[in-house]
Amino acid sequence: MKGLWKRWLGGIERIRESVKERFAQIWSEKSTKPEAWEELEEMLIAADIGPNLALELVAAFRSFKEKARGDADWQKWLYEQLLSFFGEEEYRLFPQAQPGLLKAIFLVGINGVGKTTTAGKLAHLAQEKGERVVLISADTFRAAANEQLAIWAERVGCRFFGGSPGADPAAVVYDGLQSALKEKDTLAIVDTAGRSHVNKNLLAELEKVSRVVHRFLPRENVENILVIDALAGQNAFAQVSAIARVVPLTGIILTKWDSQAKGGILFRIRREFGLPVKYIGVGEAVDDLIPFDAQEFVRAIVF
């Protein structure tokens, strides 16, 4: 676990270095040159926070600085600004689940963001907490997707359910959930095929699978999680918009935090969609998934 936290904090460290120093420096200056403000914008943009949000944040900081009196605390100001993007209790899954009923985590996202790996890690976490987990692979398109998830199930020591290649994913999920009820599993984790968010047919298919899940279970017992790659740019935003139209998303998991990307897209997604961030993936090992704590995250960046 020690290495895990090191990687997590290491990630924050990278952001802190640039953010804190740049803000502190501008704060200390009597008058700031226009180029310095632009550089501050660029620093935020380089973290993938998006140009509009960057401009907005810098403008707000600028007016805060101009109006500030002697005892104003820029760190407190920035902390509140950044924290305002997030809500309370970010990381809890199933905050209002009906007890005694099957729960399901439905993972969606485009190809290669790490859905299958995340499914494996989530299964591991849940098993540790005493859940009976079944991993369901609804990815009947990608070659060997079944095998990949089955190997994860074996590693974690949980049940696996998959359909034959080319089968209708909705039917596979239906059968999978049936089997979960029969086997008295407590948590089903559904891995879906990577979907391109511009393809109408694929999105329709996703919607169908999602409907199947919701038909089985009450809303509170389903988490529809969007998996996003920390390396993704503003394009990730387009993904969320498209997928959110067909699946009622309830949260985000950010993967590949160990890539040293800054994942600034989180702020933008959080603000425009209000989706809570649940977990952050920090590596390839089975327990490389840690709960996201917004306060700690923002505090580590600012102070």
Partner: protein
């Protein structure tokens, strides 16, 4: 891919286009907006800065102020700059006569290496090579199984050496195997690695030093953000790719990352992956991409895709028919079905110029394609071959059978008559706008 970006550009330059003369303020105002557009598209901020500065320098000079249509001039300058960044000319894959040639695919996790490996195999096979696929990925569960499945479905050979302790051994054995079996290109898939995992990069370095690879292709996800440049720079410290394969081009609404990487490294983009099917790998054309960014559409890629959908045999059949017979509704139906095979209607429309797109979108293409098909299917074979016998009562029957109206049947027959005229002209050897493409462009495009 660059659609949204292209639309934005179009609207920005509409403002400029309306003017007879351009002032420095005009250019600056447009460039300010442009900066945001490019940043929003994940072009690296340093690259944006450079690009804007260069366009400004060239735009505010005399060159623009004295030309007749200044707006178009700025657009051309920008197109030129983007095209130049993207590499100017088409750069082909280098397949040396060495037997076998060795290609290595490297990249981050999830960038699409394994899928691309399968696609590249098929791509080479279509160009009459005999590729052999192999994988050194022992880390990701079922990675090799995935490549094997892809190879089988593409009808390609797959080589595996489960006992290998080092990627080097796999490559060596695969090369030997290829030589014995007369395979001329070996495609080596590798495990995905982050640009910060030094141990794995070291392994890659050793691999490239122990074997002579003729192409080292960096597989890059088009949806990557600002970090893309750093990824490329860090990879470069260990291996020097000979080119880039850009993947997930179909998913990306923007895709500025490729502009950033090419600007930063000068590595040529050689191929692009445009979908999840194995056939969906295309040659990268800097000019087309630059045009596409600026809203001029990508009709050339569309044409190429259409050509690939026609097999040699079908082409001969069509040619025979042109010289002998009339073009009938049956042929029309066949063309229509082939058109549907090309990809989703949306996908095809996305390649058209922005100006045209609006028109097509209004027609609601997918639906009207289906209706057209239904109408033709409701005709008797005789009617299809000889539409002139279709009288009013036949029209009513056809409309009823296809669930359409007589008006729609009439419209189809009218359109078909137009196409047939074109066809006749072509038979006489007149050049058509898209002479080589046969019936496709008669069909409404």
């Amino acid at each position: 891919m660059f659609e949204e970006l292209a639309e934005k550009f179009t609207s920005i330059f509409k403002k400029l286009r309306g003017k007879g003369r351009l002032t420095a303020e005009d250019v600056d105002a447009a460039l300010r907006e442009l900066r945001l557009v490019l940043l929003e598209s994940d072009v690296h901020y340093r690259v944006v800065k450079d690009l804007i500065a260069r366009v400004r320098e060239r735009a505010i000079g005399r060159e623009v102020l004295e030309s007749v249509t200044p707006g178009e001039m700025v657009m051309k300058i920008l197109w030129d700059e983007i095209r130049q960044i993207l590499g100017g000319e088409v750069r082909d894959l280098h397949v040396p006569p060495a037997t076998p040639a060795l290609f290595l695919l490297v990249g981050l996790q999830g960038s699409g290496k394994t899928t691309t490996c399968g696609k590249l195999g098929l791509f080479l096979k279509e160009r009459h090579y005999f590729p052999l696929l192999t994988s050194t990925d022992t880390r990701r569960p079922a990675a090799r199984e995935q490549l094997r499945t892809l190879a089988v479905s593409a009808g390609l050979d797959f080589f595996d050496l489960p006992s290998a302790s080092h990627p080097r051994d796999v490559v060596r054995a695969a090369r030997q195997f290829a030589r014995e079996r007369g395979r001329d290109v070996v495609l080596v898939d590798t495990a995905g690695r982050l640009h910060v995992e030094e141990e794995l990069l070291q392994e890659l370095k050793e691999l490239t030093e122990s074997e002579e690879f003729h192409e080292i292709l960096l597989v890059l996800d088009a949806t990557t953000g600002q970090e893309a440049v750093k990824v490329a720079e860090r990879f470069r410290e260990w291996v020097e790719p000979t080119g880039i394969i850009l993947t997930k081009v179909d998913t990306d609404a923007r895709g500025g990352a490729v502009l950033s990487i090419v600007a930063q490294t000068g590595w040529p983009v050689k191929l692009i992956g445009v979908g999840e099917k194995l056939k969906q790998l295309e040659v990268f054309h800097p000019e087309r991409m630059a045009s596409r960014i600026l809203g001029m559409g990508d009709t050339l890629s569309l044409i190429e895709r259409i050509e690939r959908a026609i097999t040699e045999e079908e082409r001969k059949k069509i040619e025979q028919r042109v010289t002998k017979e009339e073009f009938t509704l049956e042929d029309f139906l066949e063309e229509l079905r082939r058109f549907k095979q090309l990809g989703s209607f949306e996908e095809l429309v996305s390649m058209l110029p922005v100006q045209l797109k609006g028109v097509v979108a209004q027609v609601d293409g997918e639906k009207s394609l289906k209706r057209t098909e239904a109408i033709i299917l409701s005709m008797t074979p005789e009617e299809r071959r000889n539409p002139s016998i279709i009288n009013a009562s036949r029209k009513r029957r056809i409309a009823q059978g296809s669930g359409t109206t007589v008006q729609e049947v009439n419209r189809l027959l009218r359109e078909f008559e137009e196409i047939r005229k074109l066809w006749k002209r072509m038979k006489k050897g007149h050049a058509l706008p898209f002479a080589k493409r046969k019936g496709f462009f008669g069909f409404g495009f």
